[in-house]
């Protein structure tokens, strides 16, 4: 699709954005892999005064991120595991770049919601939450969405006769989620479960 084609779809919903305060969320995969397209789309939205949100893992070229930061109304920024080794084990990359980028956006005054996908046994240990709190607090980032891991995709793997790489993990219970939320709220964060 071209940017004008996407904009034609976007503008169809403008009246709903007016009523709800909503807009366009650019998500992925990692949208910042397709820099040229994303920048053009953001510029087109800005020209028509459509609110934009960028949903990113933060694993991106800092220069690109700096450039788009002026075009985006809100970042949804993933934070997964604070220990860099563990981060590499579960995502394939270390997290230093991600944390640096987040710090840079925070210092530029961008609106950011931190999104933590919670997977029991991977990143729900107390140490991880402690480290997150310690990192986020001085940056003035107050809003966190806790996203419980779900298995909605496993049915699709089955239908495609593939084995799910995540089969060994179970979703957290509601009670677990409440406990994690309470933990973060204690440090002054505004926490939503889901979102």
């Amino acid at each position: 699709m071209t940017v004008p084609e996407v904009m034609a779809e976007v503008l169809k919903d403008q009246i709903f954005f007016d009523e709800s305060g909503g807009g366009v969320t650019i998500s992925g995969g990692e949208p910042l892999v397709q820099t040229v397209f994303v920048e053009a789309l953001l510029a087109a939205c800005r020209a028509r005064r459509i609110r934009t949100t960028l949903d990113t893992s933060g694993f991106a070229d800092p220069d690109v991120l700096r450039r788009v930061s002026g075009q985006v109304d809100l970042f949804l920024y993933d934070l997964k595991v604070m220990n860099s080794e563990r981060h590499q084990r579960f995502t394939g990359v270390k997290n230093e770049l991600i944390l640096q980028n987040l710090k840079m956006l925070a210092e530029r005054g961008c609106a950011i919601i931190i999104r933590i996908p919670v997977i029991p046994g991977v990143n729900d240990d107390g140490g991880n939450f402690d480290a997150m709190s310690e990192f986020l607090s001085p940056l003035g980032l107050r809003n966190i969405d806790l996203l419980p891991y779900h298995k909605l995709g496993s049915d699709k793997y089955q239908r495609l006769h593939l084995s799910s790489p995540m089969e060994e993990f179970e979703p957290p219970t509601t009670q677990q989620m409440e406990t994690y939320a309470a933990r973060l709220k204690r440090d002054g964060f505004t926490v939503r479960i889901g979102g």
Partner: protein, 786 residues
């Protein structure tokens, strides 16, 4: 609700409807004796005879009194309009759905007294005798229906007159009008005199009816041992001596005044879509305020009185149809619809304390009747909308939501005064009217996909092989889509002509033979004009024809345009062959028509532009034609359950729909055709020019989860968005398909499951399997935001 209301609610749910022969017997007795009065006077005297002689019922818990039949759920018949055969009685007694039990004595009276007198004299007999072969052909083929063969023209709603004036005051107005009659210069003066005398007599009839309730209450009070109930009965007697003879002085009297008025109207004739209390919250507000200030009433007491009234509405099942078949489902609902909120006469926000009180009552009662709606203006607060949506989210189909600003705009376009428009609202399902000032008569549904079917078959109905339309050319010879559409327009023109010619005759039959003097009393300006409600007495006189299946028709035209003329992937001959054989052996073709056609409901310009063309074609044919009462024709788009009947009368259609399957309902997308979610549906639906209709109906089916969390806020935003786009109405069916399947399998466990059908709610278990399946198959929207 308190214990009293809880007991009454239980009773009205559990009591089974039964057919009461009382009214038919009294009416027949009267007509057999009186042979000399003028027609209006004869109607009024017959009404008086009924009100003087019918059984008076006061139930042990009741505060608001009066029944149409001799007891709750006793349903009268109206043989002067349509006279049931003994076979009808048998079917009503034994059919699976919407049963009305009929006892032996009723059958005997029907056989010995009622049928012999009314055969050939009922309005239904008169109407069918007058209709032309062209009309009968189209009618029997399912091109259109005719409302007035079963019920009298109705569709009106009370304005504020009964809250300001007593019937004695109205009698004085009549006396003044009589005194002004000019026999020397007005050739119609003697007709007017008879009509005015009839109105005056019918006022006496209802005053007497109320008085008889007072007498009965006093009689019961004398025997009552419980001092609290004795006091209540004395109060009831006092109320019934005040209203409706005099104007109400307080909240209780205002509610009772309405109920006697309502009973008068629905006993005089079985008017279509019953009768409704108009802007009830606004009418009651001054009484409520005054009583609250003086301490005469608490909010709880006001709520109890309203809940007693709600039970009364639910006690009155719709009069059963004649010519019924065993498979046919009727409905018990008689379409009284309570309007809430909206605008005041001066154009300001109409939401008040009573609005929220009534919403609490609706929430408490969960009854089939009365139906309820929000009149939502941009001036109304969101709190009002969200309170309504909380009730919607409970999943029993009420209230539906209307764009009050649009209702005003529609009425203005039709030429109403601005203040009359603001005091208007909707009745029945979605029909716009100027309350207390307009006769807006729905005359029948019109099967748009069938018109296309007849066009494709050069004037022949392929279901019967009979020629019912005009020869508009062999479709195989059409070389462009425009040529096809021109043929469709020509066919539409011919068939609307046939319908309107029939309507003209029927209107005059009602004007001449079936005046409604009591209803006329209540509607401006019948007294001033000395003319009946059915003869052009009201300030505004509108006739409607209701377009059915616009989406099915649009998708079918879109399929032809797309596959045959644009892409040229299918030939007209192949398509017609496949349709004639209901796609047998042509499943691949059917699936490409079904899946690969741009369809209405997806915010897709290709399909939505065709919808506009269909809309304009129907509008141009109907709107502005003159009726016989000084008013004119307009269109609206609702189907109630008629899209199921029309579907059953229509063969396979080019959109891939199989023969006999239902058409799309209201202006909703065809079942399963909308695949881009509710915002796309709303965008497409807004392509209709709602301002040029008298109402449209959009159904959306949501699962209850959608209302959880901040769901209500999101649905509220969706509603506001649709109304910013000038949508007329939206309603939500909030149930899961699983629940409905379970209810189908175990109806006994789901007897109280109410679903929104099409402009009204009904018990799911009372619907036919076809209609049940259709409701299940309506696209279930999973989530709004993702």
């Amino acid at each position: 609700m308190n214990e009293r209301v809880s007991r009454m609610r239980q009773a009205t749910i559990e009591t089974k409807p039964w057919l009461s022969i009382e009214r038919a017997k009294l009416i027949t007795e009267f007509y057999s004796q009186d042979k000399t009065s003028s027609i209006p006077m004869r109607r009024a005297l017959a009404f008086q005879y009924l009100m003087e002689n019918k059984e008076i019922y006061i139930g042990k818990d009741e505060l608001i009194v009066g029944e149409r039949g001799c007891a709750p759920k006793a349903t009268p018949t109206f043989p002067e309009l349509c006279c049931h055969s003994l076979e009808d009685f048998e079917i009503l007694n034994v059919r699976e759905k919407t049963v009305y039990s009929v006892d032996e004595s009723a059958r005997k009276i029907q056989k010995d007294e009622v049928i012999p007198y009314w055969r050939g004299r009922s309005m239904r007999d008169r109407i069918f005798a007058e209709m032309t072969p062209e009309w009968k052909n189209a009618y029997e083929a399912g091109i259109f229906t005719e409302f007035m063969e079963q019920r009298a023209p109705g569709h009106t709603v009370l304005g504020d007159v009964m809250y300001r004036k007593g019937l004695l005051d109205l009698k004085e107005d009549i006396a003044a009008a009589l005194a002004k009659l000019d026999d020397w210069n007005d050739s119609e003066a003697s007709d007017r005199r008879e009509e005015l005398r009839a109105m005056s007599t019918s006022a006496d009839a209802v005053i007497r009816f109320a008085e008889r309730h007072a007498e009965k209450a006093e009689e019961l009070a004398a025997k009552e041992t419980d001092p609290r109930r004795r006091e209540e009965l004395r109060r009831i007697a006092e109320v019934c001596r005040q209203v409706p003879a005099h104007a109400p002085r307080n909240f209780w009297e205002a509610v009772q005044a309405y109920w006697f008025t309502h009973l008068g109207v629905v006993t005089e004739l079985n008017t279509w879509d019953s009768f409704s209390p108009g802007r009830f919250d606004q009418h009651l507000a001054p009484f409520y305020q005054k009583d609250m200030e003086s301490g005469a009433l608490t909010r709880e007491q006001a709520k109890e009185l309203l809940e007693c009234l709600w039970v009364k509405f639910n006690n009155q099942p719709a009069p059963p149809k004649v010519g019924v078949t065993a498979a046919e489902s009727g409905t018990y609902t008689d379409f009284a619809n309570i309007n809430n909120g909206g605008l005041k006469r001066d154009g300001s926000d109409g939401v008040n304390d009573v609005t929220y009180l009534i919403l609490d009552v609706i929430d408490d009662m969960h009854l089939l009747q009365p139906s309820s709606n929000l009149q939502l203006s941009r001036k109304n607060p969101d709190a009002f909308l969200k309170r309504g949506l909380e009730i919607v989210s409970e999943g029993w189909g009420q209230p539906s939501i209307f764009n009050a600003d649009m209702v005003v705009e529609e009425l203005l376009r039709q030429g109403k005064q601005i203040q009359d428009a603001r005091c208007g609202g909707i009745s029945g399902c979605v029909e716009t009217g100027a309350f207390g000032k307009e006769a807006y008569i729905l005359t029948g549904y019109f099967n748009l996909p069938k018109v296309l079917e007849v066009t494709l078959n050069n004037g022949v109905d392929p279901c019967t092989g009979k020629k019912i339309g005009k020869e508009t050319g062999d479709a195989r010879g059409f070389t462009s889509y425009e040529q096809l559409f021109a043929a469709f327009r020509e066919q539409l023109h011919y068939l609307v002509d046939v319908k309107v010619r029939g309507n003209n005759v029927i209107e005059r039959l009602y004007a001449e033979f079936m005046p409604a003097p009591f209803l006329s009393l209540l509607v401006d300006d019948c007294i001033a004009k000395g003319k009946d409600y059915n003869a052009g007495g009201p300030r505004y006189n509108t006739t409607y024809i209701m377009g059915v299946g616009p989406a099915t028709c649009t998708d079918s035209l879109s399929a032809i345009k797309h596959h045959i003329f644009d892409r040229k992937t299918i030939s007209m001959d192949d398509l017609l062959q496949a349709l004639a054989h209901n796609f047998e052996g042509k499943e691949k073709l059917r699936l490409s028509l079904w899946n690969k056609t741009p369809k209405f409901g997806n915010d897709d310009d290709y399909a939505d532009a065709i919808l506009s063309d269909v809309f304009n074609a129907f509008f141009d044919e109907v709107d502005g034609r003159k009726n016989t009462k000084g008013g004119c024709y307009h269109v609206n788009y609702l189907s109630t359950t008629c899209h199921v009947y029309f579907g059953s009368m229509t063969g396979a259609t080019p959109d891939g729909r199989r023969a006999g399957e239902p058409h799309s309902d209201g202006i909703s997308p065809a079942q399963g055709a909308d695949r881009k979610g509710p915002t796309a549906v709303i965008k497409s639906a807004s392509r209709l020019d709602h301002a040029r209709t008298g109402g449209t109906l959009l159904n959306q089916k949501f699962s209850p989860q959608l209302f959880e969390g901040d769901g209500i806020d999101k649905v509220a935003q969706l509603v506001r968005s649709y109304f910013r786009l000038d949508g007329h109405h939206i309603q939500f069916n909030v149930v899961t398909a699983d629940t409905l399947h379970a209810a189908q399998a175990n109806p006994e466990k789901y007897r109280d499951l109410i679903v929104r059908v099409a402009g009204y709610s009904d018990y799911f278990c009372d619907l036919t399997p076809a209609l049940q399946n259709e409701i299940i198959s309506r696209t279930e929207q999973e989530a709004l935001a993702r």
